[in-house]
């Protein structure tokens, strides 16, 4: 049943208890986004060190379970990784949502792959795709800003 695909337990959990919520200390980059159609908002904060590693990563946001879960999952997976990882996983993620491909990045644990793949149910709900992708686009623009 498609609806169950969309509202999987992992998503409901991340939606209810989003990880890394708030403004992380000493953030170096940030970016905001907003979906005027539905009012969803997200603000990504990230602390980049000289080695292009994402030392810290957090978000503030208002929105549906999908958008909160997506932001939460993003931060959980990307925190501590470097920029090149962020770009790759971002590509992979957006590809999964758009083209129904699988997550290919091999530096992920199986658990992480399950978590991130839980968002793929959104494919069948075109009006909700933006909920799932907004945080990811925003994270990228936070990085590209500076």
């Amino acid at each position: 049943m498609e609806l169950k695909e969309l509202y999987q337990e992992i998503i409901l959990d991340h939606g209810k208890n989003p990880r890394n919520k708030g403004k992380c200390d000493g953030y170096t980059n940030d970016a905001k986004a907003h979906n005027p159609l539905c009012g969803d908002k997200v603000h990504i904060y990230l602390k980049l060190n000289k080695d292009k590693e994402i030392e810290d990563l957090s978000f503030e946001g208002e929105g549906c379970a999908i958008s909160l879960a997506s932001a939460s999952i993003l931060t959980e997976i990307v925190k501590g990784k470097n920029l090149s990882f962020l770009k790759k996983i971002n590509d992979d993620f957006l590809n999964m949502i758009k083209n129904k491909t699988k997550i290919r990045l091999n530096s992920l644990t199986e658990d992480q792959i399950t978590t991130i793949t839980s968002l793929s149910g959104v494919q069948e709900f075109p009006m909700r795709v933006k909920c799932a992708t907004m945080a990811w686009h925003t994270c990228l623009s936070a990085v590209e800003k500076k």
Partner: protein, 405 residues
């Protein structure tokens, strides 16, 4: 025709949504169309289509006659004094833009005040915002109270010698509040201030009589009145039809066109530039036929019964927070659900065939005041019945179940 089995008149209800019968509770967004309206469009295109007002051949004459006959019908329906007071537009949005632009051009200057309310749909705010930016006018917002009503006393307080126009909604598309428009018009008349009423939600659900309301402008979207999309009606009092400058420029709205100057048609046609939505206008007369056959008062009281039933039912669910408690409510029921975002509600309800809307409903200012970025909205049309409400209520419970896991 009988309201009890009126769904039969609407082809859309034949289909299943996700395997379930369609429970359409999104009529405030746009209503479904009866078969007579849909058929009229195809019949017209198949047998009588021509552009209106431009040629003298048989098809053109037929089309022009049907087009102008609809104008007459709308005039009667609204009890307007003159047929020239009926202007066809693309929708309520264009109707309000037209007034803001034409009235604004002539009468709004720096420091002038435009009085609207916190309830307004963006369509009845942005066009005035343009005047604010371009002319240096000011917009004042009459506050919405805790119940989702706008009090006439609060409007009174905001009127000053600089108030040039009052623009208010007839029925809020969020709180459902029916505004005391007749009293507001009376108040404005004392001070000689013209009043525009955004009747987008009012017209489908109430008996509207321009002589009784007495307003200067009344904007309608036909697609919310069981009519075609892409069509609106602007009622404009004759004195303004004669007085205001035209809006868009093009064919059909001119008097004389020379290289150094242009003069415009004297009457309503000056506001109807370019080829019109002839098929839509012609078919809208069937929407009025549909409404008249049932009787707008019967429709309103039927809708009210369903609405009351819905309020009662939803109030029994402790997790539901119903938005607003206006003195009089018109066929709109906005709510939120504890810990579940309105978009998730809408998606999950849809799985049960229940179509509602979630979001800010083009009322960001109101939602900011409510402290809610979004709400869920069930809105009632003539075709809804108590069973639809029961299904809504069940679907909400399913939604809660999913989130409780």
């Amino acid at each position: 025709m009988n309201i009890k089995n009126i769904k039969k008149e609407f082809p859309i209800f034949k289909q299943k949504i996700n395997g379930k019968p369609l429970v359409y509770l999104d009529s405030a967004n746009s209503s479904q169309k009866p078969k007579t309206v849909i058929d009229k469009i195809s019949q017209f295109y198949e047998n009588e289509f021509s552009n209106v007002g431009r040629s003298v051949h048989t098809l053109a004459v037929k089309a022009a006659n049907r087009f102008e006959a609809t104008r007459d019908k709308v005039q009667k329906y609204l009890n307007a004094k003159h047929r020239e007071e009926i202007i066809f537009t693309k929708g309520a949005t264009e109707a309000i833009n037209l007034v803001a632009s034409s009235f604004g051009k002539k009468y709004i200057n720096e420091g002038d005040e435009i009085l609207i309310t916190e309830l307004e749909h963006h369509s009845n705010y942005i066009p005035w915002h343009y005047l604010r930016s371009e002319k240096g006018a000011t917009i004042k917002f009459a506050p919405v109270n805790e119940n989702g009503d706008v009090e006439i006393e609060d409007i009174k307080k905001l009127i000053t010698s600089k108030t040039k126009i009052i623009a208010i909604t007839h029925i809020s598309n969020v709180t459902g509040a029916i505004l005391p428009i007749t009293k507001i018009v009376d108040l404005a008349k004392e001070k000689n201030i013209p009043v525009l009423i955004d009747g987008t939600q009012g017209a489908p659900h109430s008996h509207i009589d321009m002589q009784k309301i007495g307003c200067d402008f009344y904007a309608i979207s036909c697609h919310k009145m069981y009519g075609p999309n892409g069509l609106g009606v602007l009622y404009m009092k004759k004195k303004w039809v004669d007085d205001l400058p035209p809006y868009q420029g093009g064919g059909g709205m001119i008097n004389e066109v020379k290289k150094d100057d242009v003069t415009f048609a004297e009457t309503n046609t000056k506001f109807e530039a370019g080829s019109m939505q002839t098929a839509e206008v012609v078919s809208f007369s069937e929407s009025l036929n549909f409404i008249e056959k049932l009787g707008i008062k019967k429709i309103a009281s039927h809708e009210n019964e369903i609405l009351e039933y819905g309020l009662e039912k939803l109030r029994k669910n402790n997790s539901i927070n119903i938005i607003g408690d206006p003195k009089e409510r018109g066929s709109v029921l906005c709510f939120t659900l504890k810990d579940i975002h309105p978009h998730d509600i809408a998606t999950i309800l849809d799985d049960d065939g229940v179509a509602i809307r979630a979001g800010h409903h083009c009322c960001q200012i109101l939602h900011e005041k409510l402290g809610l970025p979004a709400t869920a909205r069930a809105s009632i049309g003539v075709y809804n019945d108590k069973e639809d409400i029961d299904k809504l209520s069940e679907a909400i419970k399913n939604c809660q179940k999913i989130f409780q896991n």
